[in-house]
């Protein structure tokens, strides 16, 4: 979508630089002159929000490293040293710890937005896959970061997750030994997790550059899923998108601040304030909230290797999404059936998250024993997660491929600027397009 560069260096210095390294031109073309569809809604501000999250995590992380002691003996106390003795250490640490959660909230919204508006479809498959890689790297980074304070949940979470890799035949045991740096989670494990936790964010930053590059080649999708056809369909990135993104970021920061300053430990687990003790296993090991749906999928499968494969498959299926969705219509705005199944998927993901936080054998409806199926009562969280897992995979592997062939989509407007307003569904919707917003 990025057409010919319109950048004209105005001073001798910029002219000199432009003919040697056109870096100002790159910035100008990417963030000032770049044509963006004029109908982007607030869900499109999450790209900017995520960039802020990444930068904030890297800056606070680098400062934390200056005071952190990556050893099994000293890690816990050094984190408390940051909280008590380092100037504004409490702020930096709470920003970093809650920043991880904020990062995941934003990335989940960003992914669901891509899913709903069909942003993964041609010509944006590579853009989508790069996003999936970023998400995978985020999962690894978040997990290793949670291990670093070396509290009870850090330690036993690391034990549970690293043991999962042992389920793979032949290579499994070697992988876990390599990850542990020994035969159990201990000081060497902490050290390699620390090294990787510092490395991976920069890999994320690298893939983000590719992600943005791919975005600027294919151009942004938009709520209508119709490619811009003329200048009337787009506005320059600056000031139109910049000011909207800035507003979105600022509102997001309010939510972030509420967590940092008023409920900094609400998203964590109390047990992680108990120093790691390999001899005492917490009654109930739960991962951070952003892994809970995958944890539920893992436990839904009665076989260990099967569970691990299902868990990785749940992310793997996202990589294949561009080829699983057979519909010619990009945006679900014009796909009433798909819209409904998308809403169910949303509920199912929340249910999976809920199941991940509960003990598998606990009753979903309290004090009600129904009948046993295979290994557990039907009224149990393990069965609830099985049904939910089935729908999760069913959505991607059955519903999306079949739906594209059988459903009758609503008429799609020709262009962004002049949508066919005869059909109510093609009228712009959402807060942005509401009449009172047309300034």
């Amino acid at each position: 979508m990025s057409g010919h560069s319109t950048y004209e260096p105005k001073t001798p210095v910029t002219r000199w630089l432009d003919s040697r390294l056109p870096i100002i031109r790159l910035g100008y073309d990417s963030f000032i002159d770049y044509p963006t569809p004029r109908n982007l809604n607030y869900w499109w501000t999450f790209g900017a929000i995520l960039s802020v999250c990444l930068v904030s995590q890297i800056i606070t992380g680098v400062i934390l490293v200056m005071h952190y002691n990556p050893s099994a003996a000293g890690a816990f106390a050094s984190v408390e040293h940051i909280m008590r003795d380092v100037n504004y250490g409490w702020l930096i640490r709470y920003m970093h710890a809650n920043g991880a959660s904020m990062f995941f909230i934003a990335v989940y919204i960003h992914m669901l937005r891509g899913l709903y508006y069909g942003s993964y479809k041609a010509p944006r498959e590579v853009l989508w896959i790069l996003g999936c890689i970023i998400y995978l790297l985020m999962m690894a980074t978040g997990f290793m970061g949670y291990v670093l304070p070396w509290g009870q949940m850090s330690f036993h979470g690391a034990v549970v997750i690293t043991n999962l890799l042992g389920a793979f035949p032949i290579v499994g045991e070697s992988i876990t030994t390599l990850l542990w740096g020994g035969f159990a989670v201990d000081n060497p494990t902490l050290n390699r997790f620390f090294a990787l936790h510092y490395l991976l964010p920069f890999m994320i930053a690298g893939v983000v550059v590719l992600h943005i590059w791919a975005l600027h080649v294919a151009g942004q999708n938009n709520p209508m899923g119709v490619e811009p056809k003329s200048k009337a369909d787009t506005v320059p990135f600056t000031p139109y998108a910049t000011v909207k993104d800035a507003f979105g970021v600022s509102v997001f920061l309010i939510l972030f601040a509420i967590f940092i300053f008023y409920m900094p430990n609400a998203l964590g687990h109390a047990d992680n304030y108990i120093p790691a003790n390999p001899l005492v296993t917490p009654a109930h090991i739960v991962p951070e909230w952003y892994y809970l749906p995958f944890y539920a999928i893992l436990r839904a499968v009665p076989d260990k290797l099967g569970g691990v494969l299902a868990m990785f498959g749940a992310i793997g299926v996202l990589f294949a999404l561009p080829w699983l969705d057979t519909s010619k219509v990009r945006s679900m705005r014009y796909r009433p059936m798909a819209k409904m199944y998308f809403a169910i998927l949303l509920v199912v993901c929340i249910i999976l998250g809920f199941c991940g936080a509960k003990l598998p054998d606990d009753h979903v409806i309290p004090h009600l024993t129904t009948f046993r199926v295979i290994d557990a009562d039907l009224n149990s969280f393990v069965w609830l997660s099985r049904f939910a897992t089935l729908y999760y995979f069913g959505f991607f592997l059955v519903i999306l491929p079949v739906l594209g062939l059988v459903e009758k989509p609503l008429p799609v407007p020709e262009t962004i600027a002049s949508p066919a307003l005869s059909h109510p569904a093609s009228a712009p919707d959402g807060a942005v397009a509401a009449p009172e917003m047309k300034g």
Binding site: R84, A257, I365, F387
Partner: protein
């Protein structure tokens, strides 16, 4: 087939709603902590300095016989929002109270001239010394149980200070169907599962678990210098508040900073929204 899927999904939604509303009072779950009002609650909450001083006295005269608090140093007592803060001593190391309290403790050290192991009076830079030299010693003196360190205890228990208060005031005579091992005490607020030691009906397993610590507080056990009646309830509440301070000494600063930050962000968001409206004024979208 697709309709069937949606029916199943609707059932999920219904179940989700049900489980969100369900109480969690089954066997193996302790009682939820009592509802306590704290001065440090809410976005403008502050520690009550008199309460922190009383709580510190309870800690020092009762708890510290078994419980360490190794992450807190004496100077912290004189920190802003701490139990002995005074505007006169902006540097907590100058606080006469922090100095005096530190000097009452004996700290293990090495004589820098001779290299001998010695004990010397504490300074404000020292941390609170642990009552036992190591974990086995602590366990040996406490029937095999390890008294947890107090530094971050209020953050390390779900329910926080309300849990600590509830536990301290929640000791109960065990029901007679309950087999209580020697050196154990029944407490309905202690996490645990009593199903295995319960002789009564399976549907009425009592909540809570066993704790090795005997009820530590008694009416009048500590004399409060400000004349506050020294009841078990008061002692428990004050020591729980003190432990919240010990775990989160920067809480008041945090909340005050947060108020300014959020106020700023609200104004900034308002300005950005106005700019957004102005920039997009002549654009249909």
């Amino acid at each position: 087939m697709l309709r069937k899927v949606s029916v199943i999904a609707a059932a999920f939604g219904l179940m989700g709603g049900l489980l969100a509303a369900s109480p969690s009072l089954a066997a193996g779950h302790p009682l939820p902590p009592k509802d306590v009002h704290w001065s440090f609650e809410g976005p403008f909450g502050k520690f009550d300095q008199a309460q922190l001083q009383r709580g510190f006295k309870v800690y020092r005269e009762v708890c510290s016989a078994c419980h360490s608090m190794t992450l807190v140093s004496f100077r912290n007592l004189g920190d802003k929002d701490g139990p002995f803060y005074s505007e006169k001593y902006s540097n907590p190391n100058d606080s006469p109270w922090a100095k005096a309290i530190a000097a009452e403790y004996q700290i293990n050290d090495i004589d820098s001239e001779t290299g001998d192991v010695i004990q010397r009076p504490g300074t404000t830079a020292d941390h609170f010394p642990a009552p036992f030299p190591n974990e086995p010693a602590a366990r040996a003196s406490n029937g095999g149980a390890m008294p947890p360190d107090f530094s971050v205890l209020a953050k390390a228990r779900s329910g926080g200070p309300a849990y600590i208060y509830s536990l301290l005031t929640g000791y109960k005579t065990p029901p007679k169907e309950l087999t209580v091992a020697a050196g154990q005490h029944y407490n309905p607020y202690m996490p645990g599962d009593l199903t295995g030691v319960w002789g009564g009906s399976h549907d009425h397993v009592p909540p809570g678990g066993f704790i090795a610590m005997a009820p530590p507080l008694k009416d009048g056990l500590v004399t409060f210098d400000d004349g506050t009646p020294s009841t078990v309830d008061q002692q428990a509440k004050d020591v729980a508040a003190f432990l919240m301070w010990a775990a989160e000494p920067k809480m008041v600063e945090r909340k005050q900073t947060g108020f300014a930050v959020i106020l700023y962000l609200l104004l900034f968001s308002g300005l950005l929204y106005a700019s957004y409206r102005r920039v997009w004024r002549n654009q249909s979208h």
